[in-house]
Structures are given as C-alpha cells and as structure tokens.
Amino acid sequence: MNEVLTTDHISMEFGGLRAVSDLHLQVYPQEIIGLIGPNGAGKTTVFNMITGVYKPVEGQIYFDSNNITGLSPDKITKLGIARTFQNIRLFNSMTVLENVMISKHLRRKSNLLEAVLSMPKYNRERTMHYKECMELLEKVELADVADEMATSLPYGKQRRLEIVRALATEPKLLLLDEPAAGMNPNESNELMEFISKIRNEFDLTVLMIEHHMEVVMGICQRIYVLDYGVNLAVGSPSEIQNNEKVIEAYLGAVDTDA
C-alpha cells in the first residue's frame, strides 16, 4: 500500500441530505490531483472529512497507512496534512511572518515554562523556527513583506501566504481549496507554476479543488469529478474533457430531439 491518501468509500450526511456518497479516492506520492464538480457537489465536504472537521458517516480514511478517521483537525495536521481555505482565513491581527510562525507551534519541543523563563532551549528553538520561516518566505518571494500586516497584502499574495502558512506545518499532503478563485488568467498561470514548484521542492502530494479549468487541466495528473456527492468520473485531463457524463453534469443533458 503505497498510496499517500485513501478514502475508503466515505459518505457524509447532513440531516438526511447525502452530501458525499461512497467516494473512493486514491492519491499516490508526488501527484497533483484535481477535484472538480459543479457548485454544491460536495468538494469542500470531502476536504473537511479528510482534515477531520467532519467525521464521515460511513467509510474510513487512511493517510500514510494510518487510519485517521475521526481524529481532530490539529492531530491530522500534525500527522502531515495541511490545507488552505476557499475564503481566505489569515490571522488578521498578525504580520506575514507571524502568520507563518504560528504553523511552527505544533512542532515545538519546549514547554510553556521554558518559554516564560526564556530558557536557552526555547530561545534556540524559536530562532530556528524564525530562520526556517524566513527561508520559506524567501523561496516564495514574500520575504520583503514579512513585517507587513497579512491583511494589507494584495489578494494574490494573501492566497500565496495561505499556501505558505500550510507549508510551514511541514506537510506531506497539501489540500488546496480553490487556490485560483478570483484570480485573473495571468495570476492563475503564476499560481500553476508556483504549485508545481513547491510540489517538487518540498516533495509534496497535492489535492486541489478548482473551478478554473485551465489550471486544473494544466497541472493535474488525474482528476476526480463529483456531482451531487457522487463520483462521476476519474481520469487524466483529456479523458475527463471527453467524458459525456461530465459534460452533461456541467452543461446539462444533451437534448435528444434536436
């Protein structure tokens, strides 16, 4: 079993409404996988199940051959799954650097007492985290705005910061929820390059929800299509583009009388 992530036929229900049903998703190391579907198809619900926000009503989720079904979100992050959000959720009272430094808190080895007493162990750790975060910011070209408030950044950079913040938790699997939302074609091209760059550099596996078809078709190796919570199709971008069921879900049924 060398999959990074397997969702073993998971389902989610909200008061009788079946948001996701019987989804079997397999993600292999170093892949970039797309998860697409019309609005309300249950894509974000899948993310919320993988990251532990919801517990699936049926099925199991395996990450690195550990069963992570029902673990709390912070434990799952600790195991190595990081995520971004559809609507940006930065810490708005903090600077760019502080936003990234938060992600290092879960890798701490010192305790609160050592922090209060300014013990060398804590100080060394803090300096090390600071250096790591600055390096990370430099790699993604955000180092020059490290001391600015996160919310004062332009939209595209806020999106990138959210990804960096997720990267700082040292994940193996990165879940991106509509990273290109609200971006113009130029910005989404940049983002595509950025995602493949970090994938190679940090040895990541990426699972992303996206509506921009250019982005999805451009960088994803495989695509899962969801509609009303059901997995319609899975395959390479060209297979998906020519899949009748997918076209039907997106554009409506072809009128047979015409």
């Binding site: 938060i102 803090r126 938790t169």
Partner: protein, 353 residues
C-alpha cells in the same frame, strides 16, 4: 540591531530601578491613604491584565473572574490567619480541625491561592470552554456565582456569610507592586511566546488555528487557567489589603469593574490594561467629590448621591464603545522602539537645522 537591544535592556533596567526608588521612597513618605490606593491599583493591574489574557488575547468572553478571586482570597486568608483568631471568628460552627492549626507565611499562601484558583479554573473550564461567545459569558458568570454560593454555605471552612476577619495585614508597597510587576513580566513573556501567538490565532480565526495544528481546547483551557491563577493571586492580595473578606465582596459587579478596565485600556493590550487599571482606581477615589452635596453658587443644590461615580464610569464606557471601540491602546503595546525612533528623528532634524 544588537546595539538597540542593549539600549532597550538598559532602559528597561532603568525603569525598574526608578520604580524601586519610588516604592522605597513612597513606603516611608506617602500617607497610608495614598499607599492604600496605590496598592489597590496594583491589585487591579493584576486583575486587568489576567482578564485581558483571557478576553483580549484568547478572545474568550469569560466573566468568571470574581469567582476565582473569591477562591484566592479565601485560600490565602484561611492559610495565614492565626489559630487563635480562627477560634474566635468561627463561632457559629468551629472550623474543620485540619485547617484550625495551619498558619502559613504570606508568600506561600499567595502562591497557594493562585494554584487553587487555577485548579478551579481548570475544572470550570473543562465544561464551560465547550461554549463560546455569549454562551460562555453566561456560563462563566454562573460558575462565579456558584463558587460564591458554595463559599457562603461551607460554614466549617469559610465561616459562611459572616466572612473572615483579622487576616494579617500587609501594607508594604513592595509586596503589591512587586507581584504586579512580576505578573506583568510573566504575562508579557507568555503573550510574546509561540503560545501567546497561538492564543491570538484562536481569537482571530478558530477554524484556521485548528487547521494549523493548534489544539483549540487545550490552549483555551491553558489560557483560562493562567487567567484564574493570577485572579487568585489578586484575590489573596485583596484579602491582605482589606484584612477581611466576605462572600458579598465578590459579586459579579466586581467582574464588570475589571471588564471596564480591560475595555477602556484596549482588549489585547497589556500596556492599556495597566494604565487604565491605575487610572480607574485613582479616579474612583478622586471622583468621590461628585457624591457629596454640591452647591452651584446658591442657585442649585444637589444632595449627595452615592453611586454617582459609577454613573460617570458608565457614561465613559458608553462613549468609548460608541466612538473609540479599540480603547486607549487598541492592541498596541508600549515599545521603546517608538520612543527611540522619535528621539532619533528629532536629533536628525536638529542636526539639519
């Protein structure tokens, strides 16, 4: 950069030394009335910043501070009262034999008061912190009242509604301000540590904080218990200052007085809470004038109205909430950098002229 750090370190030491000189001078030269007010403001400083940690930094709308203070006050009093006075005071029902002979020195009793209050904070926090916002406020308010009612009814331990008297009196400003300054330093360290940032992350966005690997419940519980610890210490100091405690002292109106300090000073600013704690405690005394009968040039006569002070504070709070919501300091802190930069630019302007 290193140079600046050194300057700041020296400045910090200088300010501490200045405060020490003032305390040393004040202890001998100020009248006991002034010393009492200053000691009271030290207690409110501790209360203000510890509540700010919970309310301003972690974003938990908790109103249970007076309950934890009550616990601290009783623990410290029972531990330090002499066996003889315990025998006299507990005349309704004698005190439980285990506590009758105990007489601890002041400092261990203060620490113990904090520890017991923190323990109660921990126990109260486990159920209460599953709630948030207004619901948390109501639950913690309820818990504070429950603590007060338990204290009123456990007569063999707390002497019930009669309260405790003859608690050893501590007058020295060293004790009150010393502990207040240590509290400020500890809380500043916490707030600037990665734990402090995690608290702020929880305040800013719980969902994102959890996704970044912060365990919400344990961090909230930690912040809440630290808040309770210092509230307990402040309660102990309160007992030593007034030398008598009874359950009615710790009604929820007391919590609102601390809330006033936190809101006026700025939620999320230790500096703001320190300034507003001192200012409000002093104003409380200064404004006693308005409660006396006032005569406007023989035209208008206002009889003395007890409680007028609180009306003024209420109006002040209203104005702050309507027009200046972030309070005195907002989330900013006192920082030497700001002053050093000012001096620097002033000097440069002087040189260019």
């Amino acid at each position: 950069m290193d140079d600046k750090k050194q300057i700041k370190f020296i400045l910090n030491i200088a300010v501490l030394a200045l405060i020490c000189v003032f305390l040393w001078w004040g202890n001998d030269n100020l009248s006991s009335f002034y010393i009492r007010i200053l000691n009271l403001s030290a207690i409110f400083v501790i209360l203000g910043i510890s509540m700010n940690l919970v309310l301003g930094f972690t974003g938990m709308f908790s109103l249970g501070h007076s309950g934890f203070m009550c616990i601290g006050a009783y623990v410290a009093s029972i531990l330090t009262m002499s066996p003889a006075s315990k025998e006299i005071i507990y005349f309704m029902e004698p005190i439980t034999p285990i506590l009758a002979q105990i007489q601890w020195p002041i400092f261990p009793a203060i620490i113990m008061a904090g520890v017991v209050a923190a323990l109660f904070g921990f126990l109260v926090g486990i159920p209460a912190l599953r709630l948030r916002d207004d619901y948390l406020a109501i639950a913690t308010l309820g818990f504070a009242e429950i603590i007060r009612i338990i204290v009123t009814n456990t007569i063999t331990i707390t002497n019930g509604a009669l309260g405790l008297k003859n608690i050893p009196s501590v007058k020295s400003m060293w004790v009150y301000w010393g502990i207040a300054i240590i509290t400020i330093i500890i809380l500043k360290k916490i707030v600037n540590s990665s734990w402090g940032y995690s608290f702020k992350a929880i305040r800013d966005n719980e969902i994102a904080a959890e996704a970044m690997g912060i365990n919400l419940f344990s961090h909230k519980l930690l912040s809440f218990s630290i808040g309770a610890f210092f509230a307990g210490i402040a309660g102990a100091l309160m007992a030593f200052l007034i030398t008598s405690v009874d359950p009615t002292m710790f009604r929820f109106t007391f919590t609102f007085q601390i809330l006033l300090i936190v809101v006026l000073g700025g939620m999320g600013s230790l500096t703001g809470s320190v300034i507003s704690a001192v200012a409000i405690t002093i104003l409380m005394e200064v404004l006693r004038v308005v409660e006396e009968p006032i005569n406007f040039f023989g035209l208008l006569q206002i009889p003395g109205l007890p409680g007028m002070r609180m009306v003024i504070f209420a109006l002040g709070l209203l104005l702050v909430i309507l027009y200046y919501r972030q309070g005195l300091m907002g989330t900013r802190e006192f920082n030497w950098d700001y002053i050093l930069n000012k001096i620097d630019s002033f000097r440069k302007r002087g040189a260019s002229m």
